[in-house]
Assembly symmetry: D2
Homo-oligomer: 467 residues x 4
Amino acid sequence: MTGTASEDKLHEECGVFGIYAQEGAEAAKDIYHGLTALQHRGQESAGISVSDTQGPKGNAMTRKGMGLVSEVFSSSDIEALKGNIAVGHVRYSTTGGSIPENAQPITMNYIKGMISLVYNGNLVNTKALKEKQMYRGQAHFTTSDSEVIAYEIISARIGSDSIENAVLAAAKNLKGGYALIVMSPRKLVALRDPFGIKPLIMGRRDNAYIIASESAAIEAVGGEIVRDIEPGEMVTFGTDGIKSDRSLCGSKHAHCAFEYIYFARADSRIDGVEVRDARIEAGRLLAAEDKVEADIVVGVPDSGLLAAEGYAGASGIPFAIGFHKNSYIGRSFIKPSDSERQTAVHMKLSVLKSVVNGKRIVLIDDSIVRGTTMRQIIEMLRNAGAKEVHVRISSPPFLYPCYYGTDVPTAKQLIASEHSTEEVCGRIGADSLAYLRVEDLSVMAGGLSLCKACFDNVYPIDVSEGR
Amino acid sequence: MTGTASEDKLHEECGVFGIYAQEGAEAAKDIYHGLTALQHRGQESAGISVSDTQGPKGNAMTRKGMGLVSEVFSSSDIEALKGNIAVGHVRYSTTGGSIPENAQPITMNYIKGMISLVYNGNLVNTKALKEKQMYRGQAHFTTSDSEVIAYEIISARIGSDSIENAVLAAAKNLKGGYALIVMSPRKLVALRDPFGIKPLIMGRRDNAYIIASESAAIEAVGGEIVRDIEPGEMVTFGTDGIKSDRSLCGSKHAHCAFEYIYFARADSRIDGVEVRDARIEAGRLLAAEDKVEADIVVGVPDSGLLAAEGYAGASGIPFAIGFHKNSYIGRSFIKPSDSERQTAVHMKLSVLKSVVNGKRIVLIDDSIVRGTTMRQIIEMLRNAGAKEVHVRISSPPFLYPCYYGTDVPTAKQLIASEHSTEEVCGRIGADSLAYLRVEDLSVMAGGLSLCKACFDNVYPIDVSEGR
Amino acid sequence: MTGTASEDKLHEECGVFGIYAQEGAEAAKDIYHGLTALQHRGQESAGISVSDTQGPKGNAMTRKGMGLVSEVFSSSDIEALKGNIAVGHVRYSTTGGSIPENAQPITMNYIKGMISLVYNGNLVNTKALKEKQMYRGQAHFTTSDSEVIAYEIISARIGSDSIENAVLAAAKNLKGGYALIVMSPRKLVALRDPFGIKPLIMGRRDNAYIIASESAAIEAVGGEIVRDIEPGEMVTFGTDGIKSDRSLCGSKHAHCAFEYIYFARADSRIDGVEVRDARIEAGRLLAAEDKVEADIVVGVPDSGLLAAEGYAGASGIPFAIGFHKNSYIGRSFIKPSDSERQTAVHMKLSVLKSVVNGKRIVLIDDSIVRGTTMRQIIEMLRNAGAKEVHVRISSPPFLYPCYYGTDVPTAKQLIASEHSTEEVCGRIGADSLAYLRVEDLSVMAGGLSLCKACFDNVYPIDVSEGR
Amino acid sequence: MTGTASEDKLHEECGVFGIYAQEGAEAAKDIYHGLTALQHRGQESAGISVSDTQGPKGNAMTRKGMGLVSEVFSSSDIEALKGNIAVGHVRYSTTGGSIPENAQPITMNYIKGMISLVYNGNLVNTKALKEKQMYRGQAHFTTSDSEVIAYEIISARIGSDSIENAVLAAAKNLKGGYALIVMSPRKLVALRDPFGIKPLIMGRRDNAYIIASESAAIEAVGGEIVRDIEPGEMVTFGTDGIKSDRSLCGSKHAHCAFEYIYFARADSRIDGVEVRDARIEAGRLLAAEDKVEADIVVGVPDSGLLAAEGYAGASGIPFAIGFHKNSYIGRSFIKPSDSERQTAVHMKLSVLKSVVNGKRIVLIDDSIVRGTTMRQIIEMLRNAGAKEVHVRISSPPFLYPCYYGTDVPTAKQLIASEHSTEEVCGRIGADSLAYLRVEDLSVMAGGLSLCKACFDNVYPIDVSEGR
């Protein structure tokens, strides 16, 4: 159940997209399509900055606004954004604290012209950096990390001989998980945190270079994948070609497990692993030691479908499409007053009755956060005649907060944090409940070294400075 | 591939929803949710009219606008629409001729107060009716049938003793396929054409009666299904309960086959047949005599998925999810310039590469209209490594126009009308191509008597008056 | 004190403007400027209809909206309105009953193509006409007279051989004061009521004919005045030139006195009399028998200034500008909460202190409606040090309602209707108060025969059918 | 001819308004009305910042937008701006370089909470200040001086013990003419440049203190005038009352002469002189040595009317109102294509024909900039039958640029800079032309020491740093 109206889900914070094209190219149009391909990573706001590398140094233009990419930008907006290099951003919709000022790109005019920055992630030392900046007389207009990073860069730039060296100097002060693209009047600089928590990948189309949060976005604009940006690597695109700096690279990696479980598009490949394959594998791993007897395997659309396919294949129990999903429930949808008989979940999902009537069902979803949605889904299945509902979750129980950019409810709201698996099973009304084992996560992701902090409380980066 | 950005699909023209609730109820909110559940039937415009049966007779309020239900109505709009009976409408987005004036409901103030009318369908004798009306001095402000029907009703009302008798008198002049709900200051009147071409169903929630194009919309607002309105039946809801008039009912029915194939929601039940079951059955029928050897069965999302599941079940070839669909490609999306490498289809659909690489694929879709989309999809599969692509279509070749309310390209644009199946197979680049047989349509729909005119040129209602 | 924020004034209901230009001309632009020149006659809504006399017969386009002309129409709107003949309308802003549907032009498609109609005035037999129309099956979408008139015309057109004959036939059914312009696909027809209550004048610019409520609007678009349309005259503009029909003309005229006193622009000439001259004359007539001793004559801007100039000239007491007027108090201005020290009147008008301090003042205004504004103005003058304030009003006491199109408060709200002149003088806090005599009105207007019903209760047209 | 559509005028850049009220007061509403009273000083953008002195220190809210005060703010906007202290700003509409970012107030979050700043004027050392700031790492988001001043203040605040001391320290770096109001979370600080070029005045209403560009705005919100802020004086409003700092005050003053001639409202009193009196006096001074024989004195509305009254009084030639002015020609008005017979000037001004026909006219206006408007006005008078037109201008010839905040065309566009008075007279088509003498300016303004740089090239502050 991807999407905007569901509040019982974890949320990624952002998607970034950048392009360095030849003189005369219209970069904004590609950013528009790239951001549309990344829209699942954030629906709150969208923004694009362009620069014409042949124009004067302060010629960057930025346009951003609240809403979907297609709501923020009209054809004429895109045409007005003239320039051959560009960066863009989509931001996730929080329930309350969303303010227009926090939309990205963050563009600053400074002593060397301008920088425009897009960023996905979270720093754990924002507070200390911000205080230091304020003592320099740097005013803050947003509550976002991206502004803090931009100030680090422009301050570093005063003593640096190039924008990439300023980014590198600033990066030494940044603690957290992030993927970053910085546009200067003439260059694009991409940077990924040393643990590789957030994804960032490079592509190419003819003479243009493309940077994006996910490979699917590069392919959506007709590009070919070159390779992932390495954890800690900084890549600079300029008139003299591409330069890579690996001085921040380390040996310890910790890729976010939730990209494979839920965040990323199924058709993306992140750090060498196809997301679709990971989800199929999660289903297989769930089935591997499962002894439940059932008639059909049903996935909660859209994110539970692939794990359901994997489970069905491994278990031999037939796969069936069990739900209709209404794809018109967007941000501005007015929710029903949540009577017993009509809720936002009922509006969004409905059961195909003849499928489930009289059946024993294995129900696959990617995660349980508060448990309220799952409880309603199971009730709908029972109302439609399901005899048994065995819930299988393609991730381990979610127990700890994320400090690197994923929006997580407080521990009290996390049902798995407050209750045993047996209790959760009872509360959601299932006949049985099982999760993917923490030790299976790496198997799922083809052996990659993952950040599993939200499941096992082991944080790759010290988070004691908190937020 | 449901939805707004695809232009290579047939389109339903509308969805209707009405509610007759007890005094003091807030009918508009239910209409809002009912229309949201019917949004797949039309995304061009949405509208709601309400009446307070305790208020003065001219107290109806109508609000309508271009766009999705959630775009047209804000919370405060819905709150402002006070009344316990209401009708609502969603209208399909045509490419050019869409004008705000044609949005429904059509509300008219006349000698007995007002009527507000919502309508799905098409008349074949509009021109003659309109001319007759103009000679009466009735001005026309729209180019829609609904205005013509409304004038027939208010003219008939002058000599009738009740709104329902006026609707009945007017109905005798209407030739075509239609589902109609008329709201007077105190009553709701629902009417379905004598052949039952367009669907219309009745539900109930406590003391409120609900009328809708599809059962799923009644359930979305927490209602229970009572029964389909019979072909030719008129049902009147008023303070003295429900009255049914069957004087227009006949013995010959012709339900639109495309509701089962593509238009309706999979979770709806129309004239006693579950749409999901019909689609599964279409897949089974396709498999029944198919001898193709393949590794996987893949459906084109969303409408090809169920037929693919049915085909897989009957053939024993494994079902696999083969595509990622981007659900953020809405009406206002700016399309790419359609280079070879990036098209609107590429933005909307992408292949899960590891699924199809090296495989022989049975590809299921519900229809081929122009063939352009299918050609691109097959090309994407081949680029991802598919060895063979065998296309199976869960409907017969589309050959003739529809005069009853479905938007169809001209014959020249219908690939099946201009080319043999073998030629079509070559043009779309498939290894083989097969369609559902016309004689299997009734089997698919549980033996119902269907309108198959677009496949076999046999029109249930004389269309010589044309349009 | 012209304008939108003042509620203590009478209000004209509308201004009309039409143009019949040569093929290829862009009539909409002239209408835009003509309506801007008539904006003082109505600020609630504005609208334009155009027709291309070379195009197909149904090619008229209408655009209208709430607000000022410059708010309703953008450059691109005006460019999109292609056509060489056109009509336009501005409508006055009532406090509550203003609904978008009532905006003009009213455009109807009917058996002979279309008509588009603009209208200033009021009928006294609307109710009877409307009922008759409803029995014909003609639906009503507005609460305006203009729709009623349009239906009369299209019904008459069925039995008439030309649009002008249909207008003439319809006109025989209309009772009231009105100025009307009807556009058919190929012609423009202008009509003025037989008493000439409402003004309507004809002009010319090269080969184009212009019709407008006031001469100033014709001159604003560079036209020259030809002559007033006569009371009861119908003028038709078509490919074969101008035709005049005087069959409805009578000998008894009754031009609205308030056009001279307050409604019309000072630079307009209506029925042969310059509005500026009438206002100067009103001031002179007030001075003629006045024996008050004073130091300066001050007019309430803008409409009291000319009468003040006339009074000063006749009396020998020096004229002085005594107020600053804030011209930025528009329709959307948020009023203060009306404490003693800050009111909407204080925001709009302020006293030039050094002018009035220690002075005996003759204060001239055009009318007193409720008296509240005048009371505040006098208080401001006293606070600024005025020794005496002698109020002189350039119209007689306003006592009776207008049935021909002027918006008048109920008798209870008319201070002169409820109180003697002496009492009014006390209530507004003046030292003395005098009005223009009813018998001086004709003198003021150069001997014209005026409608003075609001002053003397003598109505030229029977109003017993009321409204 | 005040106002937005005239391009042949000098323009003031801004108006400022601030209020320091008791706890619980709704300051935003007063700012709204105060800004409306200052709207003549700028129509491009409007903005308001509020702070609740009882709330947390970062609780300021700012709202600003393009357009008039009444366009930018709705009732609900004003209600949402909760706080008892506030500042507001109106900005003048330039033809091209107007960007939303430059709207004021400028609000910055910094180490001590926030400041919000409104400002009228211009600095001559912006460039040097900005470069210094950029080397501190302070990014710039606008092209306005106000941002530069705000950075000076927050940088100074780091080493200061109070906001007022920071403002004072920053002020020492500012060169130019300015009136400034700074809001901190708890205080309001008002500052005027040492020469008093820009006006700033203090008022009071009960316990609330008010600061504004003009006295009329204080009175519009029901306040009483306390006194002008002295040139160079800084006044601080806080919980412990008012404090004045005069350490920047000097003995040399140079009040902008154009405030009296044209910018300010006639009902304002600036530095002890009533603007109305100055304008009357300018007319008298023009008449003093004039020997022209004429029949009437006519002023160009609105700004020429008072000088005309003064001229008439001194010369004995009768004053007459000679023009109708259309007050609906706003910012969004679509201009005519400027044929000979219809121009923007014709739309805005028209002649009262019977006044001028056959007359010898003294025509008074406040200034001639390019001369194009005056030429058209004289042509209109002649077309209406004027026999002679003698132009008298109530200011000296405009010859030099202003560096302190008035928008002036380039010297080439200044007709007086390129041509002798005799030539100008010929070009505008007048029978004679005379200006106010430079030496009469101080007489006009009651002996005040004025900045007359635009007339005599003597700049009170060194402008060599230029811009």
